[in-house]
């Protein structure tokens, strides 16, 4: 039990640090095409244990988002997207439920449910998170094509990073 808490706590710190210290500084499109950023911190929510209560998911999402926001200097924007991700996680999981259902003692990892399953689940979560984030960032649906472009370009590159992470570390918990 304490093992799971420690793993996730460590993951929380590492993801936040990677996001704000490394990925925040990477500028892919340059000044002319600033539609691409790399966002991998939702992976923390994606990998939380299956038995995490719904409200705790939401609260952890808020905590994670606020930590990112402090460094991005955009209070509330990442937080609202993470809160949203925490809220929809049970519904997305239900969408990808395997035949026998989930074993609540485990985390939703590729090690348990397969690589393809994990990528589909993580991609859905990431996409919804990014769409929500860029919507709140624009704060209006007037620029919906702009939001879509940012979401899709960021989604592709972030998903690649997540796949790389999965292949290298293959988390057990």
């Amino acid at each position: 039990m304490s093992n799971i808490v420690a793993t996730n706590g460590l993951r929380f710190i590492i993801f936040v640090l990677i996001q704000v210290l490394v990925l925040k500084g990477i500028d892919i499109g340059g000044a002319n095409f600033n539609y691409i950023s790399i966002i991998i911190y939702p992976l923390f929510i994606i990998l939380l244990p299956l038995r995490t209560p719904h409200s705790i998911l939401v609260l952890l999402g808020f905590l994670l988002g606020m930590c990112i926001d402090i460094f991005y200097d955009s209070y509330g924007i990442h937080a609202s997207a993470s809160v949203f991700s925490g809220y929809i996680r049970p519904y997305v999981l239900r969408l990808f439920a395997p035949k026998g259902g989930y074993n609540l003692n485990y985390s939703p990892v590729a090690n348990r449910y397969g690589f393809n399953w994990f990528i589909a689940y993580a991609a859905t979560m990431l996409f919804l998170h990014l769409f929500f984030y860029f919507s709140v960032d624009a704060f209006t649906f007037y620029y919906i094509s702009d939001i879509a472009l940012r979401t899709i370009s960021t989604f592709i590159i972030s998903l690649l990073i997540i796949i790389v992470y999965q292949v290298i570390f293959n988390p057990k918990e």
């Binding site: 609260l59 999402g61 209070y75 925490g86 709140v136 960032d137």
Partner: protein
Amino acid sequence: MRNLIFLFVKHGGTVTFVLMELLCLYLVVETNTEQGAIYTNSFSVISSAINNRATKAKEHFYMSEVADSLARENAALLQERDNAQFIKTVFKDSLLDLDTEQLYTFTAAKVVSNSVKLNNNSMTINRGTNHGIRPSMGIVSAGSNSVVGIVKSCSKNYSRILPILHSQSKISASIKRNGYFGGLIWRGGDPTVANLIDIPKHANLIIGDTIQTSGYSTIFPEGIMVGIIDTFWTQPGTNFYEIKVDLRSDLGKIKYVYVVENLKWRELEDLEKEVSNE
């Protein structure tokens, strides 16, 4: 309290989600200049839209008052027109200086009951003897300024109208272009058409000609519109045309009317009685 806790256990995620999103929204709007500006702007757009709606709704309630005052004003204007005046000048020499006095007055009234579907239709207005209305005054529609009917009987505050859509109604009407006149009757059925009978066969008729009141009675001033010629034919065995007239006033949706009073009706009636007694 127990129910509240139960609710939280069951829907805790949703409750937390809503609370957290509200908190985030507050933070976004309060601390980010760009999003804050959009929020303030949208908020003022929405609030002004709501204010607009509210004003429109309020206006709707004042509408009937406005309509009443407009009807009164129109009645006053109709009285000023030439066909409502009695020309006092006697044409004795070539010098023409028109001297007129009021011949017709118009009183605004509201229709309180109405029918168009029967063979003998009826209508009631909210003016009666208390307002100077008496039987056999004319009724003119407010919107289109065209003939509606004749007052049949009055109580203190209400009057029954014999509309043109009644088998016993007969109104003297003429063709505006050449002056031939006849009687306007209604044979039942379609409430948008009536028949003009007794137009002599040698009259030159054109479809689309205007039919108006003839002025040969004490009821209507001359030139109040009735309708336009739709079709015409000769009654077999007679020397007269019968004309199908497209009525100008739509009695199916009439709301306001004017009661037309001829101020010299008694004088005219007495004179005509005298002639018929001889």
